[in-house]
């Protein structure tokens, strides 16, 4: 039954319109990398790292996760199709987890491929290690963002609005402007983990408002976000009145 819900969610997530937006966003880093290569742009180390951080981790990844994950439950609630799943003889976690994993798959595949390929095209040293670290970072960040946005979708049908405010307001602006807030930024945690695994790929500042949290904080924090948001989704499914 879990595979049925997984496949159902894949089909929902890959509607023509959504898939087009998703591919467009995921293709941006790769397009920039290809154009740079054609123009023989000489990327400095800082520029490459900025490319990974600002464009992929801080912007494209959370946006793609938002577009895919926020509607996973919010649309089912709004369209009143969630009753089909809630009236099935299955535990609520068997609804929550396959749906979140399906959304994760839809986010990770194009984003990881795009990141992996971008790094291979523009990187100058440790190409394959950096590409794998980049793709792994995408997986970790995507899991956290997807779990968060899917959970928010069980709380409100306006999860996309919340997500846009969160991505552009908190992740992009506030968390960089106010010292210490990077500690609770998923992008910050993702960058911290990538920096630990492949220092050449990401070289974030060690101090200042833009500094990501230390690795000893980032790993448990991102695990806590993933676990708590998924538990929250299951809890909501158990408690909610389905209309």
């Amino acid at each position: 039954m879990s595979d049925t819900i997984f496949i159902l969610t894949l089909r929902q997530s890959l509607s023509l319109k959504r898939a087009a937006i998703l591919l467009l966003l995921a293709a941006i880093p790769l397009t920039i990398a290809i154009v740079s290569e054609i123009l023989n742009t000489d990327w400095g180390g800082d520029e490459m790292q900025g490319f990974i951080q600002a464009l992929i981790i801080n912007t494209a990844l959370p946006l793609v996760a938002l577009i895919v994950a926020a509607p996973v439950f919010a649309d089912e609630i709004e369209d009143r199709t969630l009753t089909n799943l809630m009236l099935a003889p299955i535990a609520r976690w068997q609804i929550a987890i396959p749906k979140t994993l399906a959304a994760l798959s839809v986010v990770v595949v194009p984003m990881a491929i795009s990141t992996f390929a971008s790094v291979i095209i523009i990187w100058q040293a440790d190409i394959y290690t950096s590409a794998i670290v980049g793709a792994f970072g995408i997986l970790v960040g995507a899991l956290a963002f997807t779990s968060l946005f899917a959970f928010v979708g069980t709380l409100t049908t306006r999860a996309v609005v919340f997500g846009i405010v969160y991505v552009f307001g908190f992740e992009a602006l506030i968390s960089s402007a106010i010292p210490g807030l990077k500690y609770i930024s998923i992008s910050g945690m993702t960058i911290s983990i990538m920096q630990e695994l492949g220092p050449t790929l990401v070289d974030a500042p060690k101090s200042g408002s833009n500094a990501p949290p230390p690795i000893e904080f980032a790993i448990p924090a991102i695990i806590a976000i993933i676990v708590l948001t998924n538990l929250g989704t299951i809890w909501r499914l158990k408690r909610m009145d389905v209309h």
């Binding site: 089909n84 158990k238 389905v242």
Partner: protein, 316 residues
Amino acid sequence: MQTATPTIQSGDNPIVSLGSVSKWFGNVVAVSDVTLNIGPGITGLLGPNGAGKTTLLRMICGLHSPSEGEVRLLGTNPRTDHNVYKRIGIMTENESAYEFMTGLEFVRLSARLKDLRREESHLREAIERVDMSFALDRKISTYSRGMRQRIRLAAAIVGDPDLLILDEPLNGADPTQRIRFQNILRETADEGRSVIISSHILEEVEEVSDSVVLVVNGKLAAQGDFHAIRAALDDRPYHVKIECSDSKLLGGELAKLPAVQSVQFDPDGSIVVLTSNVATLQLDLPALAQTLNVRLTMFRPIDDSLESVFSYLVEG
């Protein structure tokens, strides 16, 4: 008022058991202190729009948690024991089908969610029963309202559940589909399975139900054998509008009939009669009109709506 009709005898193992169940949304009380048992057979859940039928059914199905009280469905709490859904087919009031799927895919989804890895022929059988074979490969987004209702009924009946719960299933159905729906319900009951069907239209439920539960303003107004309740309804006073060729003459004579409580003349020339026995009036009126040589052009109960029936039951 609770009618003096017998309560449904559900035996020791009622299909549905509600104990002092209430449900409110903020300050709005949707269902208030309902206690009832529903037994086997076809049970009609009847009430005017906004009476609380859907909320009650949603609590019975486990889609809503009661604010107070206890709900038991086939002996368990559906909010915690989801295995109970293996034995139940449910069709909610909303048109909650996945638009991007074909009819066949939707019925297949329903079967798989119930862990029924059945042969394709069983899915097609369910679709055939609701007369939707001609459109099983068409996307649901192209279906009319009636077609959606039918494909959702097919999804509910696939796997031959012990209990069918249908919320306003005849909405959007044309007369032919209505008859087919009613036949399916009867077949289901004949096979020893049970059905709970809600409607705000008295006649819809009357044609298929063994017993009824009447809900008004979120409260249980009456419960029991349909025919006993119907008899109680027949004794209620009705307003009847009559149009004829000589209102003055006919109205004067009507006032003398024992079944007539009062006679009023409307400005449009029609007569409004309050009768305590509409059946007797229906018999007496043509004879009276013939005697007086008055031509009758209309005879119509003007307060036969379900709301007025319920008002009578509740206030009576």
